[in-house]
């Protein structure tokens, strides 16, 4: 596998999932991987092995809700949607992410 694509940074997967779900009414796991890949212009790639444990952890925390539904291809899939708590969580994580990147930028850009 070529190394030109970055796997999603540890700890940011949750935030990416929340953000992606915030832009869609509902998505299944596979759709999430496609959407994240597309939105990052193929720069990011979700490690599929960690996606489902992460989704279940978030479901348990009450940030996402899951339900079974049918895809266009008439397959049964588990769809996730964002909850109000998830929206709040996204705001918190985005804020701390902004602080973190700002901090990192300042450190890296000092003359």
């Amino acid at each position: 596998m070529a190394k030109n694509r970055n796997d999603v940074l540890q700890g940011t997967l949750g935030m990416l999932v929340l953000k992606t779900l915030a832009l869609h009414e509902r998505l299944h796991g596979y759709g999430l991987t496609l959407e994240i890949q597309r939105a990052s212009a193929d720069l990011l790639r979700v490690e599929e092995g960690s996606l489902y444990p992460a989704l279940h952890r978030m479901e348990q925390a009450g940030w996402v809700k899951a339900e079974w539904g049918t895809t266009e291809k008439n397959r049964q899939a588990r769809f996730y949607r964002l909850t109000a708590a998830g929206r709040r969580q996204l705001a918190t994580e985005q804020a701390s992410w902004a602080r973190l990147t700002e901090g990192v930028r300042l450190v890296l850009e000092q003359a």
């Binding site: 796991g29 596979y30 599929e48 444990p53 348990q60 291809k73």
Partner: protein
């Protein structure tokens, strides 16, 4: 994912696993589609998709672990915290666990009985297929000819069998040794699917007229009687004095189809002819058999009943009793067969006790409710003191839901600990209950083991209880506001003291429910007291009943031989009676076919001049055949005329003594001397020579019934069984050894059985005693719980208002006024509780009116008495905190700020 769902996941691992499988399978399929579109072969695409997802099994495991482990971890933390919290206040924990354990234990004990008596299926093959065939409105007992017709006319049963329960006498003579037995038809065991443990069972080949006498033993009897010796097969056992060859032993799991009793000996139906003086096999009006069947596979109950209806007319027509009068014949021919599901077998015990058990189940449910209210109150009081702790936890970042969950976990832990104690109480309690309803000759064999259903029941009620008593405190904790609470805790005056609090409502509710129970208990106790102290028309103390059965005589070939046998029989009975009369310690003695309150009845149509009824059933009177001095022995007063005496011989004019009710009903007045009546179709008249007082005949509950007594001395019929009544100056049981010896001297082959009249009467009141004792115990428990609740609430309120009371006293309020204030508060709670409780009682006791005797369910004396009891005990319970309030030292109370 919800809390409950996660619990379900933990238990039903595979379901969660299946969901994950589906979710991941979808992912793989989608990815494979994509890869195929980019030119991979289907196989390659699938492999690559799987590879990208990583180790499939590990993936599943990891995803699930997240769910289960996180959950388990918090549960463990919650439980540990709850355990510490309970240990921190052992007094609270002890009271809470004890009251809950009593409530849960009582529920489990009663449910164990209900399970054993009413719910449990027979331990046979496919019990759910079993049906009982009954005669519709005529009851469930068949005659043998009718059973044989049913057996031979049907082809829609895979198996159908009849059985008749009896008590076999094992003794060769002298005092009888009776064990439970069953006459069973040939396919009884094969239909049920029961296997032999040793030897063989009774089969179809064993059941034919004139069959050899064989017997199959119940495993319990085989163990106790033969020490489980396998060589028992081929040996001989005496049943009613006749030798039966033992063919085998039944598997221990099967104790018979009659729940509540363990059958000791089974013998083929046809062998009844071997032991009976007059065999019942061809008797068309002796109803003694029950019928169980297993329908052909696929035959629904409705279809089965249609088939049964189709064969009924012919079966009844073929078995019409010759002696029936015309109107009874028509009724007989209209008879039906009915099948109803009988997966739990057939049980007289069930018929007798299921109503009482349902009432008790309701009672213990209410007791548990009261116990829950008590614990809820304790928890509420505690949550007030724990508010600071909760506020601290909230302040350092705990979620409210987490705190509520923590408190509910505490409640659940409390309920679980209580149910363990409760199960121990139930184990002991259900056995005590059975011994309360068991009587000497009729021991009760019930399987009281704790099966999954009983444990499940306990678990469910414990959980419900925890939710019930845990909800209010948890809800309150969820509303704690940390800043205010932490601030307020420094101050002495408690914010938010309200006149109507949850705690007070709970106490009023407790008082209401327990008053209803106490009223119910009062009604049951009064019923039992009325029945056990009533004058039944005879004096039950000091009378020993000696039931005598003569060995079967060989059939007489000639009339002379028959006459001689009858003379010998009369001689035997007369000699016995005379010797009983001169027995030291015996004040009087007599004999009778039936004795009072033995649940056996003999009735017939009375025909008199001037007494005509439309329905012959209205002309029925009870009959008994007695010797002279019968009334003197039993203590029934002779109101007019004379007793039977030596003048009344077989050849002399037939005479009778009637009771007052009979005289009034058939002759219009007590003065019936000299009047004449006939019995049934018998043309020979009886002349009334005496009138005696009314007495109870079959049960104590029955109304005054007409009874006609005819003279044993005038009877020309042979009776193999007669009951002697002996009035003793001392304890009736003290006469037993002498009588045992005496009967052996008169006729050694005679078998005898002793019981006292008092015992016989007491046996008829077992259900009433059971209800009285248990509702009394539970009523007392409910009262105690309610009083503890009231005391606790008042004491707690007084403690909370210490500052306020201190200020009142400091400002000049008199101590008496303080007492009045606290008592008034308690008085309100009591008044509300008592009014509501009376309402509940009025509605509730109506459902038990069938169990009452001698008073109405809304008996004002009982209700007023119970309310008064509550008022006294309640005021006493509130008096202690009230007095304590009056002793508050204002300076100290204010200094404690």
């Amino acid at each position: 994912m919800s809390w409950a769902r996660r619990l379900l996941n933990l238990v039903r691992d595979d379901r969660l696993s299946r969901e994950l499988d589906r979710e991941l399978a979808f992912h793989i399929a989608e990815r494979a589609d994509e890869l195929r579109a980019s030119g991979m072969s289907a196989e390659e695409a699938e492999r690559e998709a799987r590879r990208r997802l990583g180790n499939y099994a590990l993936q599943k495991e990891r995803t699930r672990e997240v769910d289960v482990l996180v959950w388990l971890d918090t549960v463990r933390a919650d439980l540990r915290y709850a355990w510490r919290a309970l240990r921190a206040s052992p007094g609270f924990a002890l009271v809470a666990v004890l009251s809950l354990a009593l409530g849960i234990g009582a529920n489990t004990a009663i449910f164990t009985l209900i399970d054993a008596v009413m719910l449990r299926s027979l331990p046979v093959r496919a019990p759910e297929e079993l049906v009982q065939v009954t005669l519709g409105e005529r009851g469930d007992a068949f005659t043998n000819p009718l059973w044989e017709e049913l057996r031979d006319r049907q082809n829609f049963f895979a198996g159908v069998a009849a059985y008749g329960d009896v008590q076999f006498n094992l003794a060769a003579g002298g005092e009888a040794r009776r064990v439970r037995g069953s006459w069973v038809s040939g396919d009884f065991f094969s239909m049920l699917g029961v296997q032999p443990l040793v030897g063989r069972l009774i089969g179809v080949r064993d059941d034919h007229r004139g069959c050899p006498a064989i017997a199959v033993l119940g495993a319990g009897f085989w163990r106790s009687e033969y020490g489980s010796a396998r060589e028992v097969v081929g040996r001989t056992i005496l049943l009613e004095g006749k030798p039966f060859e033992v063919a085998g032993v039944v598997d221990p799991s099967f104790t018979g189809v009659t729940v509540g009793s363990e059958t000791a000996v089974y013998a083929p139906l046809c062998a009844e002819a071997v032991v009976a003086t007059r065999s019942s096999l061809d008797m068309r009006s002796r109803w003694w058999l029950q019928v169980l069947g297993r329908p052909q596979p696929g035959l629904e109950l409705a279809a089965l009943n249609a088939r049964l209806s189709a064969i009924a007319p012919a079966a009844y027509a073929a078995t019409l009793p010759d002696e029936y009068p015309a109107d009874s014949r028509a009724e007989y021919l209209a008879g039906t067969f009915d099948a109803e599901p009988a997966p739990a077998g057939v049980s007289a015990l069930r018929a007798q006790y299921s109503g009482a058990l349902k009432v008790l189940m309701g009672v213990v449910a209410v007791v548990l409710l009261i116990a829950c209210a008590n614990v809820a109150n304790l928890l509420l009081a505690r949550s007030t003191t724990r508010q600071r702790e909760i506020a601290v936890r909230l302040a350092i970042g705990a979620g409210r839901r987490r705190i509520v969950r923590q408190l509910l976990t505490e409640s659940l832990l409390l309920a679980l600990v209580s149910s363990v104690v409760g199960i121990a109480i139930a184990w002991w309690g259900s056995r005590a209950l059975v011994s309360l309803i068991a009587t000497q000759p009729n021991s009760i064999a019930l399987d009281l083991s704790l099966d999954a259903r009983v444990l499940g029941f306990t678990l469910v009620i414990a959980t419900l209880a925890a939710v019930f008593f845990g909800l209010a405190p948890a809800w309150r904790a969820g509303r704690v506001e940390p800043v205010r609470t932490l601030h307020a805790s420094g101050r002495g005056i408690v914010a938010g003291y309200t006149r109507i609090s949850t705690g007070k409502l709970l106490v009023a509710g407790q008082i209401a429910l327990s008053l209803a129970l106490v009223i119910g208990a009062g009604l049951m106790l009064a019923t039992f007291r009325t029945l056990s102290t009533m004058d039944p028309g005879f004096e039950q103390q000091g009378v020993l009943l000696v039931n005598v059965t003569r060995a079967q005589q060989p059939a007489a070939e000639t009339d002379e031989a028959a006459a001689e046998q009858l003379t010998r029989e009369r001689m035997t009975y007369t000699t016995l009676l005379e010797r009983l009369r001169v027995l030291p310690g015996a004040a009087a003695a007599s004999a009778a076919q039936l004795t009072p309150i033995s649940r056996v009845a003999w009735n017939n149509v009375i025909r008199t001049e001037g007494f005509n009824v439309a329905d012959p059933r209205d002309a029925l009177s009870f009959i008994n055949e007695v010797t002279d001095q019968y009334f003197a022995t039993l203590g029934t007063p002779l109101l007019a005329g004379r007793d039977f005496d030596a003048r009344d011989q077989p050849g002399s004019p037939r005479v009778a003594i009637v009771n007052e009710a009979m005289a009034r009903k058939y002759f219009g007045s007590v003065d019936a001397l000299g009047r004449v009546f006939r019995l049934g179709e018998d043309p020979a008249p009886y002349q009334v020579i005496g009138v005696v007082g009314n007495s109870r005949y079959r049960t104590l509950r029955e109304e005054t019934v007409p009874i006609a007594y005819i003279a044993r001395s005038q009877s020309a019929e042979s009776v193999s069984n007669l009951t002697f009544a002996v009035r003793s100056a001392g304890a009736p049981e003290s006469l037993i050894p002498a009588i045992r010896q005496l009967t052996a001297e008169v006729e050694p082959s005679m078998s005898i059985q002793f019981t006292s009249l008092r015992e016989q009467v007491a046996r008829s009141l077992i259900r009433e005693r059971l209800l009285a004792v248990l509702s009394g115990v539970f009523g007392a428990l409910a009262l105690a719980l309610a009083v503890i609740g009231l005391y606790g609430t008042m004491a707690f309120n007084v403690a909370r208002r210490r500052n306020e009371i201190g200020i009142r006293i400091a400002l000049g309020s008199e101590r008496a006024a303080v007492i009045r204030m606290v008592l008034a508060e308690a008085g309100w709670l009591l008044a509300i509780g008592l009014i509501a409780g009376t309402g509940i009682a009025l509605a509730g006791t109506r459902t038990v009116s069938g169990f009452l005797y001698g008073l109405e369910p809304n008996d004002p004396v009982t209700i007023a008495g119970a309310a008064l009891l509550f008022a006294i005990v309640g005021v006493a319970a509130a008096g202690v905190p009230a007095w304590r309030a009056s002793q508050v030292d204002p300076i100290e109370a204010l200094r404690a700020e």
